[in-house]
């Protein structure tokens, strides 16, 4: 029998989910104005499947767009700051300040500046993805053991060759550690941006603020459930990618 089919593998989770479900239903029965019954959430998901799907796609696009934007620029800047001390001194303090500034506070300002279109959402998502990738890339690029660097210095490997053959592959495990954080986080960025743009028309964040203003609790929780699913799928995607690319790394051996 495969390990995943054995009851000891799936039973704990099933029991946990059942317990949580029962607790939920008990709460929903006592406080119907605070918590919708699971059945109501299911019903709205089935009845308005098209509505949720199209909004989920919008949010997913924003998340992925911001991910590419923030991830790529963070990687490029990570290479710059690890290669050039001047760049590190100029950029890192700014990046740190940007990171500790609450994004929820920046988002409304961005909406004012860039309107209700995709731009502020991409920027907020990009910003939220930026810092973990930047830090891990710049640490990973410097993680090449000294003896390795010395071997290739004695054959006069150029800076670019050292970067390409030694530093970037060494940085990959660090990069993936960051991606496992920012892939699910990108959904957070997209939703925060949608919630801050009161006039925007699409996305699950917008769906949540619309539904809660109309007191449609089931729709709120349906959107939340889809957001959780989106985040999980993104995490799954990055894990599969990591397994393919980092099969050599010790974290991948069972």
């Amino acid at each position: 029998m495969r390990k995943s089919l054995h009851p000891s593998f799936w039973l704990p989770l099933v029991l946990m989910m059942t317990a949580l479900g029962l607790l939920w239903q008990w709460g929903a029965g006592r406080m119907p104005y605070l918590l919708p019954p699971l059945g109501a959430i299911r019903d709205t998901l089935i009845e308005d499947a098209g509505y949720y799907l199209s909004n989920a796609l919008v949010t997913l696009q924003e998340a992925l767009g911001g991910l590419v934007l923030g991830g790529l620029s963070a990687f490029v800047i990570g290479v710059l700051v690890s290669e050039f001390t001047v760049a590190r001194r100029a950029i890192m303090p700014v990046a740190v300040v940007l990171n500790v500034t609450p994004l929820v506070a920046i988002a409304p300002a961005l909406v004012v500046a860039f309107g209700f279109g995709a731009a502020p959402k991409l920027i907020v998502t990009g910003l939220i993805c930026f810092f973990p990738v930047l830090i891990n890339t710049s640490v990973g690029l410097r993680a090449v053991p000294l003896p390795v660097l010395q071997v290739y210095r004695t054959v006069h490997a150029s800076r670019l060759e050292t970067l390409w053959h030694l530093r970037i592959p060494s940085a990959l495990p660090y990069l993936f550690a960051a991606l496992r954080i920012v892939f699910p986080l990108s959904v957070v960025g997209a939703v925060v941006a949608e919630l801050s743009a009161a006039g925007s028309a699409e996305g699950l964040g917008t769906a949540i603020s619309l539904a809660s203003s109309m007191n449609r609790l089931a729709a709120v929780y349906a959107s939340i459930a889809i957001l959780a699913l989106l985040g999980s799928l993104l995490l799954l995607a990055v894990t599969l990618l990591e397994r393919r690319l980092l099969h050599w790394h010790e974290t991948q051996s069972a």
Binding site: Q150, H156, E161, H165, W248
Partner: protein, 269 residues
């Protein structure tokens, strides 16, 4: 190639150890190594033997004196791909197979590699053949983490020999291995060296290793780091396992040990 592979002339290297103190790792060290010889450097820890190797490799700049490798500075020697380095740890890249690991040095600084091949009139090194000679043929498509420590160190040696370097610099490459593996690797190293004829500078702290491998042993002493003795080892080659038991071999071991003790006590007094 000039007859002198390595010339170290009155080299000083001083480390700053903070709070105004300093450590003289190399004090007025001079050494000439003829091309094609196998020279070991031996001495107690802190005698500057690894520093000497790093200065010759161009990884550290001397604070005084000069170093020439094949008539040029270490930096120029590196530019021309005349050097091969085997560090204390194998320093293989964990994401590349053994074959790709030993082939990577050929892929960097290509123009120097081309010039060397044109000058010598030979083709590129056949890494598969070298791996076969080192007994790594069966594992060449495996990752470093999938082979033993002894095999990893052999791969590191093949990587260095694959460059067909004029000068091979080895920094205690066998120190992390068990006795049996070490002796087997010494024999393979001698076989490879016999075939590819490079000048070897071999840093070690094992007396029997130094005697077995070397044409000449340089004894160093610490505080300050300096050369106290240069001994020629006049044993017949090839030096298989059998030579380890001969009386002549033991006499050389005792001699080196004596000189080492002298170096140590001289430092203590």
């Amino acid at each position: 190639m000039s007859a002198e592979a390595i010339r170290v002339n009155r080299v000083r290297r001083v480390y700053d150890i903070g709070s105004g103190g300093s450590l003289t790792a190399l004090d007025d060290v001079s050494l000439t190594i003829p091309a094609g010889t196998f020279v070991s450097v031996i001495g107690p820890s802190g005698c500057g033997k690894s520093t000497l190797l790093r200065v010759i490799a161009g990884l550290e700049q001397p604070d005084g004196g000069e170093v020439h490798v094949g008539g040029v500075t270490p930096a120029q020697a590196a530019e021309r791909k005349m050097l091969g380095l085997v560090p204390q740890t194998p320093a293989l890249l964990p994401w590349l197979s053994v074959l790709k690991n030993v082939s990577l040095p050929a892929k960097v600084n290509r123009s120097a590699g081309r010039k060397r091949r044109t000058a010598s009139g030979t083709g590129g090194p056949d890494m598969v053949e070298l791996l076969r000679k080192a007994g790594l043929h069966d594992v060449m498509h495996k990752l470093p983490s999938q082979i033993s420590g002894g095999m990893q160190q052999r791969a590191a040696i093949v990587r260095a020999f694959g460059l067909h370097p004029d000068v091979l610099l080895m920094d205690e490459p066998f120190s992390a291995l068990d006795e049996f593996t070490r002796e087997a690797l010494q024999e393979q190293l001698l076989d490879l060296w016999d075939e590819l004829k490079a000048t070897v500078l071999f840093v070690t702290h094992s007396v029997s290793e130094a005697v077995r491998l070397s044409d000449r042993i340089v004894v160093m002493a610490p505080h300050p780091g300096r050369i106290t003795d240069v001994l020629d080892i006049d044993l017949p080659r090839p030096r298989g396992q059998a030579i380890l038991k001969t009386a002549q071999f033991h006499r050389y071991e005792d001699l080196v040990r004596d000189r080492l003790r002298g170096a140590f006590q001289g430092a203590a007094s």
